[in-house]
């Protein structure tokens, strides 16, 4: 049976979506950690703003970003429980600024390309 060429494999979309999100998630995490959070509240805060992220991805990511000195962390008691709170470090702030510039530049370029391609298609 001949397959419909207009319906690509959904796995392709999932894989591309994952690639697209990967870099953006790091930017979102860094931006959200301008205010102090521990893992669970950070995840909730991101999810509340429409950026759901799996725990198993987020928690190791926090430690990796801390190893890269983009975050600082400290253990502190809250609600009678010890929690590890993360915050953006000065180095992290610098990197975040650079990443945001890059992200905006990409966004602008993509928008321009989309506008041009749409107007070319109409004409």
């Amino acid at each position: 049976m001949e397959s419909n060429s207009n319906s690509p494999d959904p796995q392709i979309f999932d894989s591309l979506r994952l690639e697209l999100r990967r870099g953006c998630l790091i930017v979102a995490v860094l931006a959200q950690l301008r205010a102090e959070h521990y893992g669970y509240t950070l995840r909730k805060a991101l999810a509340d703003q429409g950026l759901a992220i799996e725990e198993s991805t987020l928690y190791p990511l926090l430690r990796r970003l801390e190893t890269q000195k983009l975050l600082t962390s400290q253990w502190r008691e809250e609600d009678k429980r010890n929690k590890r709170f993360y915050k953006l470090s000065p180095e992290g702030e610098t990197i975040l600024t650079q990443l945001l510039t890059e992200l905006n530049s990409i966004n602008q370029s993509v928008n321009t390309i989309l506008q041009n391609s749409t107007s070319e298609a109409i004409s």
Binding site: Y40, K44, Y59, P60, N82, R84
Partner: protein
């Protein structure tokens, strides 16, 4: 609201399972952080429901969090035996080197078969040789992998200029000329010459001088003649030549071109089978009278057999090379995306 005892028990067991896969240095720290996060999540859920969580509800949250080994793996440093910077070179080396490794393997095995061991059964010898193919190939791949794993290690230690291989676009090879198939005239000539060749072979039994020439007289003088194996060989040869004739006739049609390579391979296999028929036999000439020198005859038979073994080895290698050329495009990895 605090979770009940069974809830804590399940969480403890989950964290213990994760801890088994974590390195000692960071285990306690990671588990403490995971405990705090999961506990907060469980408490949140409990508050939402306004009651303590049941074991199945806790199990569902932990299940969603992930299998212990997978969760632990994400806390381990990202490691790869051969990373994306080195991997294309590794893949290319394997692709280029494996054909040579195969040729060396078959040469070594063929020499062993033909010159060292005089196996009574050639088929058993070939089967024995082929049985070593996969293990030997795996050993070769393992050594290449080890070499590249070392290169990866060194690369990671010195992530700097020496490993950034430079290249010059002006040194790229010139464009290869496009292969053009045989012209129609060449195909017709090929067919005509093959017909003549077939007629010549068909005439040999009744006109022996066509193949022996003046040496026919020596055959009579030394009282020797062809052994019965040649009758079998002759029948196989005729079938082979008729098969070739059919392929050459089909080749007159240009649409047949995409079948040419597989049929050429099949022809080679047929040719090897024909040679194998001769190799299996040890007697090619027999005496026609008691006065024939048996020692000389045995010597002649031995060297004729030796010659056929060499021919067999060469044709087998040729078949392997041609098979590789035919199969290589379909084995080629379509893309490398990192």
């Amino acid at each position: 609201m605090n979770p009940t005892q069974p809830t804590t028990d399940l969480l403890d067991r989950y964290l213990q399972a994760i801890g088994e896969y974590l390195p000692t240095a960071t285990r306690d720290d990671v588990l403490a952080e995971l405990r705090a996060n999961l506990q907060a999540q469980l408490d949140d859920r409990s508050e939402e429901l306004n009651r303590p969580l049941t074991d199945p509800e806790v199990a569902a949250i932990l299940q969603q969090h992930g299998r212990p080994i997978v969760v632990a793996a994400r806390y381990l440093p990202q490691q790869s035996l051969i990373g994306p910077a080195i991997f294309p070179y590794y893949l290319m080396t394997l692709r280029k080197a494996i054909p040579f490794a195969l040729i060396i393997f078959f040469l070594a095995r063929a020499s062993n078969l033909l010159f060292v061991h005089t196996l009574p059964d050639l088929t058993a010898g070939i089967a024995q040789g082929l049985a070593h193919l996969i293990p030997d190939l795996l050993i070769f791949v393992a050594w290449v992998t080890i070499a590249f794993a070392i290169a990866e290690y060194v690369y990671n230690r010195n992530q700097s200029k020496p490993f950034r291989l430079t290249w010059d676009p002006t040194k790229l090879p010139a464009i290869k000329p496009q292969f053009k198939g045989k012209s129609r005239a060449a195909r017709i000539a090929d067919l005509v010459f093959h017909c003549l060749w077939l007629l010549y072979v068909l005439a040999i039994p009744t006109h022996l001088y066509l193949i022996l020439g003046p040496s026919e007289l020596y055959f009579r003088q030394f009282s020797v003649t062809f052994a019965p194996i040649w009758n079998t060989f002759y029948i196989v040869l005729i079938v082979f030549l008729v098969f070739q004739l059919a392929t050459k006739f089909l080749a007159l049609n240009p649409t047949f071109d995409h079948w040419k390579s597989p049929l050429d391979l099949l022809t080679k296999v047929f040719g090897i089978s024909t040679t194998a028929v001769l190799v299996c036999s040890k007697t090619y000439f027999v005496a026609t009278s008691a006065s024939t020198n048996q020692a000389v005859l045995a010597n002649v038979n031995h060297w004729v057999n030796f010659s056929f073994r060499i021919v067999l080895a060469i044709t087998v290698i040729d078949l392997l090379v041609e098979s590789w050329k035919l199969l290589r495009p379909s084995l080629r990895i379509q893309s490398l995306v990192f």
